[in-house]
């Protein structure tokens, strides 16, 4: 039997299996900690830092921190929410996020976090970097303007032999997401959909399915991101 541990998040008593990642443990206890790079069962990347919490008074990313007995975690505080909002704003000014022309609009996690934190305008100046749209593979548009470098696709999407279809190229300011064109040519429809759904923004789009849901029926039109997690345990 695996050991059960008790800890608190914003004063609420929670239980989890020892060693479970804080972000997953919180979700199992009905508490939504915002995330962009994390996916359950994937090796944590800890790249976006939007899940930053205070664990026993210290800043920690919830997606890389295993729960320990007696942990005192702060998540939904004015200070942390402002840090998270600032991260969302930085992502909006760093890439070129033109929501009105994006197929992912309404189903986009980054946009939904903008709504959650009521981002009316980013506090930082826009960068407007020139980035390319890679449209030469048969099933996928890879829109580099929108990539937020969460590395979900790199970690999750593999062909039958376990080879990565997506990869990073460059470092720092020149970092960009790339697609292996040969492997991408053989992607099944299911794998393409999986890639599109894993992408938290509109950087990976399956061709010929754009704007399939009308405004008002999309994922985040009526309910804020994380409501599904918070509802389960009400």
């Amino acid at each position: 039997m695996s050991e059960t541990v008790k800890f608190t998040i914003d004063g609420k008593e929670c239980t989890a299996v020892k060693g479970q990642l804080l972000i997953d443990a919180a979700a199992d206890n009905g508490i939504y900690i915002p995330l962009l790079c994390h996916m359950r069962d994937l090796v944590p990347a800890g790249s976006c830092r939007i899940c930053t919490c205070k664990v026993n008074g210290r800043y920690m990313s919830a997606c890389t921190t295993p729960v320990e007995p007696g942990m005192n975690i702060e998540s939904n505080t004015a200070e942390l929410n402002d840090i998270r909002k600032a991260i969302v704003e930085m992502l909006f000014v760093e890439g070129n996020h033109f929501c009105p022309s994006c197929e992912k609009s309404g189903n986009c996690d980054l946009q939904a976090l903008g709504y959650k934190y009521q981002m009316m305008v980013p506090r930082f100046p826009y960068a407007f970097e020139r980035r390319e749209l890679e449209a030469s593979t048969p099933k996928i548009f890879l829109e580099k303007n929108r990539c937020i470098f969460c590395k979900r696709c790199v970690r999750l999407i593999k062909d039958e032999q376990g080879r990565s279809i997506f990869a990073f190229k460059g470092r720092g300011k020149t970092l960009e997401i790339n697609i292996d064109k040969k492997l991408a040519a053989n992607m099944s429809d299911d794998l393409t959909m999986k890639a599109m759904n894993a992408c938290p923004v509109g950087a990976i789009l399956k061709k010929e399915v754009g704007f399939i849901n009308s405004i008002g029926t999309r994922k985040y039109d009526k309910e804020p991101i994380g409501s599904d997690i918070e509802k389960i345990h009400q």
């Binding site: 070129n96 305008v121 405004i215």
Partner: protein, 182 residues
């Protein structure tokens, strides 16, 4: 109470935000009780005739004329509101921002597939034309902006709630469904 004076303008926008202002339906009758319009496409007054309380601007700044109009608004309005994505972040016109202006103009007037009629290969350069800027600027990068209403267009209820809250001093009602970026 005397009526508040409101001015509006569309810079590098599509007038969609102004359409959304009209989308307040029958509340437009209440609006007329609350405000008096000055310079605005709604009443077709072309120049400021008095100091205004609120200026509402849609669209970003893509040329020298936009900048001039925006500065006039700042001078003549106590409060300026950025209305819609283009005013807030440049919007769709700002999709050219990563591309040098020369390249954009050459594509539009010389190299693009629809330039057949431009047999003399002229890029418009008449002195009467406003000068195009190196990129499309959000309004707050040029003058101070007091409030921002996102959306493409901003929902009519968002505009209505904001204007009423501003004029009455009440807290703004801001339900989740109203703050959208598309």
């Amino acid at each position: 109470m005397s009526k508040a004076i409101v001015a509006t303008a569309s810079l590098a926008g599509c007038f969609g935000c102004h359409m959304s202002i009209l989308d307040i339906d029958d509340r437009i009758l209440k609006l007329i009780e609350l405000v008096e319009f000055n310079k605005s496409p709604i009443d077709d007054i072309k120049t400021f005739t008095k100091q205004c309380d609120v200026g509402i601007i849609e669209g970003g700044c893509c040329n020298s004329e936009n900048v001039e109009v925006l500065k006039q608004f700042r001078k003549n309005c106590k409060i300026l509101i950025s209305l819609g994505e283009c005013a807030i972040m440049g919007g769709l016109p700002a999709m050219r921002n990563g591309i040098p202006v020369k390249e954009c103009l050459e594509e539009a007037y010389l190299g693009g597939p629809t330039v057949g009629l431009n047999s003399e290969k002229i890029i418009p350069n008449d002195d009467e034309l406003p000068m195009i800027l190196d990129k499309v600027y959000p309004l707050h990068e040029i003058v101070k902006i007091d409030y921002y209403l996102p959306g493409c267009p901003p929902r009519a209820d968002l505009i209505w709630n904001a204007v009423v809250a501003l004029l009455t001093g009440d807290t703004m009602n801001l339900p989740y469904e109203l703050v959208k970026f598309d």
